[in-house]
Symmetry: C2
Subunit: 208 residues, 2 copies
DNA sequence: TTGTGTGAATCCCTTCACAGCG
DNA sequence: CGCTGTGAAGGGATTCACACAA
């Protein structure tokens, strides 16, 4: 039962959910597609189209119930279950991600941390011990981890990816600047800040 | 003289450049659109279309000269000059970004770091002193900084953004999860890892 | 012959506009 | 009434296919 939905549509759903949560905290009970759009940097028609793919969540002449639509979106985005995440790479990026509270708030629990540096292995980060990356497969399957964040150097990342997918990881957030080869059924999202900066300098250079 | 080019097209140009640099290091002198596409996860036609917007860089029956096309792309992306960058926020994310060597390698120089925490102000990071964010406007204009990376808490980010744009910053990489209001002529790129993770969980939930 | 550059065709996403429900 | 849900129209972006240059 897989819906064909564009990447950008999914990102918009995410934004709607964030907006709804803000509205909820602010005490709003209802919201129109118009209002939701204005606060999510899109159009009313786009909001309605995006939602219509998954069902009818509004009442005509009224709008959407904030609480109800929020619950629906969490369901659509797969956020009703907490997700068990492995953080692979305990360097600068790994450390920043580990400390970041925004993940936990959304139900992403970092339940294991790995590194290959003997000086780091065995150290404690919060409640977690940094594991030897050699034990990746065992720990990932023991702890039933579904998502891995790869914050390792580019030379190491494909090897780590292979282990992770063998251990049953199905989703990956990859910080290394390479296109990973993955088996069918594994989804990768690349994060590449240099590309973001370059799209910025492109815009700046075109400005004159 | 501004070309209307989609965000995703620019990201592809960035990828082509990276691929070309790899080919260059591997000693390749020429490359076809076919080869470039295969290594950049797109199609030959797409490569040719993307490039055709900016000129004719290839030779028929031959392909593209790696060195030449690389130079052209660096020009298009605005990477022939080094860019002076301010890092605002010396917390976990800021620290990870400061240490990241990938920026410097592409000509992005972090020439000033700011924070509002008195315990951090005055400390040295590498060759830089952490400045009081209150001095943002002066330092940014003195050092002729064009780009700011905003790694500050969500409550503070709009205020910092306002100061930065008053000081002449024209491009911003924003890590806070809010849509910034900016004056005409300022470009913002948002980085939001929670959204990336949510597009991952969406894909995983759809999988069954 | 090979592989680019590019109009034409296609596909997909966004916007329009309105019927119809609450 | 007011605002959703949705077919139809419109606009971009991708892919096709081929004339043509090296």
């Amino acid at each position: 039962m897989s819906k064909k939905i564009s990447e950008s549509a999914v990102r918009r759903l995410s934004l709607y959910l964030r907006t709804l949560e803000e509205l909820d905290r602010a005490g709003h009970e209802a919201v129109s597609s118009e209002q939701l759009a204005a606060r999510s940097a899109t159009t009313a028609a786009q909001v309605r189209k995006d939602l219509s793919v998954f069902g009818s969540f509004g009442k005509r002449g009224f709008g959407y119930t904030v609480e109800e639509l929020g619950r629906a979106l969490r369901g659509i985005l797969g956020l009703t279950q907490p997700w068990r995440v492995a953080l692979i790479g305990a360097g600068r990026i790994g450390s920043a991600l580990f400390e970041y509270t925004g993940f936990a708030r959304r139900g992403f629990q970092i339940v294991a941390v790995f590194d290959s540096d003997p000086a780091k292995i065995g150290r404690k980060w919060g409640d977690s011990i940094i594991h030897d990356v050699a034990k990746l497969e065992r720990v990932v399957s023991d702890k039933d981890i579904q998502i891995a964040i790869l914050a390792v150097p580019v030379e190491a990342v494909q090897g780590v990816m292979d282990q992770a997918s063998r251990a049953g990881v199905r989703g990956v957030l990859n910080f290394a600047p390479v296109r990973l080869k993955v088996p069918e059924g594994v989804t990768v999202k690349d994060v590449n800040l240099v590309i973001d900066l370059e799209s910025l300098t492109f815009a700046l250079s075109q400005g004159f």
